[in-house]
Amino acid sequence: MAYDKFTQLRSTMVPLPAENVDTDQIIPARFLKATERKGFGDNLFRDWRYHADGSPKEDFVLNDATYSGKVLVAGKNFGSGSSREHAVWALYDYGFRCVVSSFFADIFKNNCLNIGVLPVTVSVEFADKLFAAVAADPQAEVEIDLEAQIIRLLTDGSEEAFEINSYKKENMKNGFDDIDYLLHMQEEIRAFEQQR
């Protein structure tokens, strides 16, 4: 087992409606110097979250105690730019288990699935509904049911189906990663490599 299993999640939300949030914002390059996967959560959204002197920027959502939870609801085109998996490590380390957006960048989405953070793609309307719900009541909760592939807003019961391929879904549910799968294929890989 490579990471925590993910089956169902019920949580309040942290809203971040900005669009085109790139991985340089999620974790700036200067914090990629570690050689172990530890402590990245402290620098999540570093330059939006802290002033240059290290004091918190009061108006940034992670510094606002009103909002909390394991679900980040993000604006369109979230996670563009660099392939750094550190961006997902930072989100995970901070405590997020699921990111909801109407549009994800490709590599970021893959990276999420590879370490067990669930990316949920919803319609623009549903994303707006979540933003509105959490603005009206910061305690508003969502429920994500991976088996049923449904995300539900608990304040009004509205729900939407989301896509995930069946292989990745099984991995997420069992906490398996691709290496577990590939290691069982070594013979087949060797045979393939020999012809190259």
Binding site: L32, E36, R37, E85, I107, N114, Y167, F192
Partner: protein, 466 residues
């Protein structure tokens, strides 16, 4: 047999198995690693007790986080030193070829791969870096991966990937004077947007693309990721072969002839179908510059920054925030504004042709007094050649500061940072907030435009300066 695109041909030849309802088990021919995205992958291998399956298929170089001065001395920054030392240690331990600091072929991973002739048509190439798309210029499928995937490649030479959709972008005709590959790609991204390529792999084609040199093709493919595309590629042709022939890792003698014959088959069938196609007229393309905080926010250099009213809803809020960060006003031109830095370098435009272009135009001139000008060659090889051709002398006379190879201010992980609030016109590929240092403001442009900015001290159209 169904007609296939170039992408289909290479992809399908590397699928070992398709998982029902899931991704393909995809074989990787060549794997590049660097010091920043590989240490955790090695650590995990160790934890699981797994060896590296084919060490000879991986090549390493430290580039992202290395100093660009005093490379022969111990790295001062303790954390950077640790990363580079880890890379050395891992390469030693697993028998991976390393092009270390100071060695003949040290440099940015996407510059040295082609230079060594490691990058070849028909290959699948990955690296824990999104600009791996650069190698697509040779007619290879090349793309960036995360650290978990770096671990997969080390352990099994495979990753699990769903096949992307296919897009073709044709640029037809001839570009005007003063317009280079960087302008072509910035123009395309401005048309398609920073997310318009998401889910696709792009084939670039058309007469304007075919007439480009290999280095210019690399500039184009390099920035595919800035449209959100996984990668981009160009069918190999005589230009490709001429570039590759005789390079250290290129096939030799009979093997070379055979390889060439095989590579010639690597082209899209006439009746193959793409999921999306764009055609652009090269004559529409002018020198481009970005004014915002993603590479899709580009304009012709003489144009005005778009009006806020062109955007609605949450897009508008993001747009206003972006202009605030940059200190620009909607509806105003940016040409003529003073800037503080110019940066020539990176895997986008840090090759010899780029340095030649800049040197050619600043020859006999001085940079403006308000400008700090950095030039960072993409590799030792580029540096050496620039010296031999007398370009270094020209640039130094013009007031440019030449640094040693590395990623440098492209991502500002080392000490090469643009100070907060300052403007830099850069040949690199990303103008994200803080990309070149906390609070730094980046404008992306071609080497030629950067040369014009350096000598005038202002945002300038190279066609009006030279």
């Amino acid at each position: 047999m169904a007609a296939k695109t170039l992408f289909d041909k290479i992809w399908d030849a590397h699928v070992i198995r398709s998982v029902p309802g899931g991704p393909d088990v995809f074989f990787i021919d060549k794997h590049f690693i660097h010091e920043v995205t590989s240490p955790v992958a090695f650590l995990n291998l160790e934890k699981r007790g797994i060896p590296v399956m084919y060490p000879e298929r991986t090549i390493a170089t430290p580039d992202h986080n290395v100093p660009t001065v005093d490379q022969d001395k111990t790295i001062k920054d303790a954390l950077s030193r640790m990363q580079v030392e880890k890379l050395r240690e891992n390469c030693r331990k697993y028998g991976i070829e390393l092009h270390d600091l100071g060695s003949d072929h040290h440099g940015i991973v996407h510059v040295i791969g082609p230079e060594l002739g490691v990058t070849q048509p028909g290959m699948t190439i990955v690296c824990g870096d999104s600009h791996t798309s650069t190698h697509g210029a040779f007619g290879a499928i090349a793309f960036g991966i995360g650290t978990s995937e770096v671990e997969m490649v080390l352990a099994t030479q495979c990753i699990m990937q769903a096949k992307a959709k296919k897009m073709r972008i044709r640029v037809e005709g001839e570009v005007g004077p003063g317009v280079s590959a960087k302008d072509i790609i910035l123009y395309i991204i401005a048309q398609i947007s920073a997310s318009g390529g998401t889910g696709y792999f792009i084939e670039y084609a058309g007469s304007a693309i075919e007439s480009l040199s290999m280095e210019a093709r690399m500039t184009i493919c390099n920035m595919s990721i800035e449209m959100g595309a996984r990668g981009g590629l160009i069918a190999p042709d005589a230009t490709t072969f001429a570039y590759l022939e005789g390079r250290p890792y290129a096939p030799k003698g009979e093997a070379w002839e055979q390889a060439k014959a095989e590579w010639l088959a690597l082209r899209t069938d006439a009746d193959a179908v793409f999921d999306k196609e764009y055609v652009f007229d090269a004559a529409d393309i002018e020198p481009m510059i970005t004014y915002g905080t993603n590479p899709g926010m580009g304009i012709k250099i003489g144009a005005a920054v778009p009006e806020v009213s062109r955007f609605s809803g949450s897009e508008q809020a993001s747009y206003v925030k972006s202009l605030q960060y940059m200190g620009f006003e909607a509806g105003q031109p940016i040409k003529g504004r003073e800037v503080d830095y110019v940066f020539v370098g990176s895997c986008t435009n840090g090759r010899i042709e780029d340095i030649r272009a800049v040197a050619h135009f600043v020859k006999g001139k001085r940079k403006a007094p308000n400008i700090t000008a950095w030039i960072v060659p993409g590799s030792r090889e580029v540096e050496k050649q620039a010296q031999q051709e007398g370009l270094v002398a020209i640039l130094e006379e013009a007031g440019f500061e030449l640094r040693q190879p590395g990623c440098s201010a492209c991502l500002a992980m080392n000490d090469d940072k643009i100070p907060a609030g300052k403007y830099a016109v850069s040949t690199s590929n990303r103008n994200f907030e803080g990309r070149q240092g906390p609070g730094a403001r980046t404008l992306l442009a071609s080497p030629l435009t950067v040369a014009a900015v350096a000598v005038t001290g202002k945002i300038a159209d190279p066609r009006e300066v030279f």
